[in-house]
Amino acid sequence: MQEVKATMAGSVWKITVKPGEVVEEDQDIVILESMKMEIPIGAEDDGTVKEIKVAEGDFVNEGDVIAIIE
């Protein structure tokens, strides 16, 4: 199991996968937006998306868990 974490504080701009979806390493899971910068957060490993813990528009802090991949 891997936790996908926010690398910066900001809001969730786009969620690019759905629970149950099979993802590859480095595939974008969400795109965060902060201070005019959009940062894609990718999967660290291949797996299946178990849970997405945020919704589009949510505010996250650096280190918050965004999704869980199995």
Partner: protein, 451 residues
């Protein structure tokens, strides 16, 4: 005569514009979002209007709300600052059709310069050299490979609708181009809703050098020399200086002349900047034109003694420039650093609560700041929280003063790029003037990433 100006902006540039207005005895009107209620610029203005929630598309980009505030305040002119609506020809047109003076050029010239493809064409017609590239957008890989054949590698691939460095990549071969085209086009489609790409010859070891222009409504146009802004991260400027220590007087004059000729050919008015890429042999190529005041305008003010914001207002008032090219001289060397609320290594934004904010003070030190102690830096806007500008009799003196001033800068509570700035100033390559747009990748990042 302009008696009251609404500033359609926020942060340090709003404060900067208010200062020049005060000097000229002009009343000022600030606009602010819910996130900026406590911003210093709001209390500096004579009047202020809340225009909406924090998000820019509900506040600083809302033309109707800005116009309503301007009417209510009975302002007679609108200064757009930089960013936000400053380069929107529609905004300029709307301001004017509602009876306000828009402090900037005509909507027509803004529209032309806002399109990468049209701007290129206009500059070519004005005799300004452009970087070899595709004439229009490239939609397929086949077209891209065909274009690459005539341009020659290395090539800079850019998203037509792009900005902020997204969808930009340098490629060296057909194979790399194919791969990069596919992934960047896909990403551009996700981000901007448009996957079309644009290709340009990559100018190697390029410097970013730009010419500041002033042009009045009576046909007078002058340039205020150059600014070198090669030190960038994420394709955004970090350190800017004037003059450039790299170009010769001959190149300086040729670039200035090309820029003034372009301004005349375009019928350009007010302040503007033409950005060029300059290669190691001092060949220069048009990059883009900014039809507004720029973040780094203070370095030009420091070496020329002119107040560019004041000049903008006077030009908008219909006054003559009152200075000629022959009267312009470079005096000393100025450097500006942008203070960003961000991680100094990853460059990721670092919004949060500033507990202590103390800018350095002293002779030849100038601060343009957007924040104070006990202040929240929100995630809604650009990470720039201030600019520090110093002046010296020469570049060496300016660097030395800048180092001292940066060491005295005190910001607590959030991460800032000050460690990065200090590290660059200590770098021998920087001190020797070896400043290309690849500086951060070539010299700064390897140094901090091995630590």
């Amino acid at each position: 005569m302009i008696k009251k100006i609404l500033i359609a902006n926020r942060g340090e540039i709003a404060s900067r514009i208010i200062r020049s207005c005060k000097k000229l005895g002009i009343q000022t009107v600030a606009i602010y979002s819910e996130a900026d209620q406590k911003a210093p610029y709001v209390s500096m203005a004579d009047e202020s209007y809340l225009i909406g929630p924090p998000r820019v598309n509900e506040s600083y980009l809302k033309t109707e709300k800005i116009i309503t505030a301007a009417k209510e305040a009975k302002a007679d002119a609108i200064h757009p600052g930089y960013g936000f609506l400053s380069e929107s020809d529609q905004f300029a047109e709307k301001c004017r059709s509602e009876g306000f003076i828009f402090i900037g050029p005509t909507a027509e010239v803004m529209r032309k310069m806002g399109s990468k493809i049209e701007a290129r064409k206009a500059m070519q017609e004005a005799g300004v050299p452009v970087v070899p590239g595709t004439e229009g957008a490239v939609a397929t890989i086949e077209e891209a490979i065909e274009g690459a054949e005539s341009i020659g590698y290395p090539i800079m691939l850019k998203a037509s609708a792009g900005g902020g460095g997204i969808g930009m990549q340098v490629v060296q071969s057909d194979e790399e181009l194919t791969k990069a085209f596919e992934s960047n086009s896909k990403r551009a489609l996700t981000f901007f809703g448009d996957g079309s790409m644009f290709m340009e010859k990559k100018v190697e070891n390029a410097r970013h050098i730009e010419i500041q222009l002033l042009a009045d409504n009576h046909g007078n146009a002058i340039h205020l020399f150059e600014r070198e802004c090669s030190i960038q991260r994420r394709n955004q400027k970090v350190i800017e200086e004037a003059p450039s220590s790299f170009i010769s007087d001959k190149t300086r004059n040729a670039m200035g002349e090309a820029a003034v000729n372009a301004a005349r050919a375009l019928g350009y008015t007010n302040a503007g900047t033409i950005e060029f890429l300059v290669d190691k042999d001092e060949n220069f190529y048009f990059l883009e034109m900014n039809t507004r005041i720029q973040v780094e305008h203070p370095v030009t003010e420091e070496i020329t003694g002119l107040d560019i914001v004041e000049a903008q207002i006077q030009i908008a008032n219909g006054e003559q420039l009152g200075i000629t090219q022959d009267e312009m001289h470079i005096n000393g060397h100025a450097i500006e650093v942008r203070i960003y609320a961000e991680d100094p290594v990853t460059f990721f934004p670092s919004p949060g609560h500033i507990t202590i904010f103390e800018a350095p003070e002293g002779e030849f030190i100038r601060n343009e700041t957007a924040v104070t102690s006990d202040y929240d830096v929100t995630p809604f806007y650009d990470p720039m929280i201030g600019k520090l500008i110093v002046k010296g009799i020469n570049r060496e003196a300016a660097i030395s003063l800048l180092k001292k001033a940066l060491k005295d800068y005190k910001i607590e509570g959030i991460k800032t790029n000050i460690p990065m700035l200090l590290s660059i100033l200590e770098n021998e390559q920087f001190q020797n003037g070896n400043t290309t747009t690849a500086f951060v990748q070539e010299y700064y990042l390897p140094q901090v990433q091995t630590k």
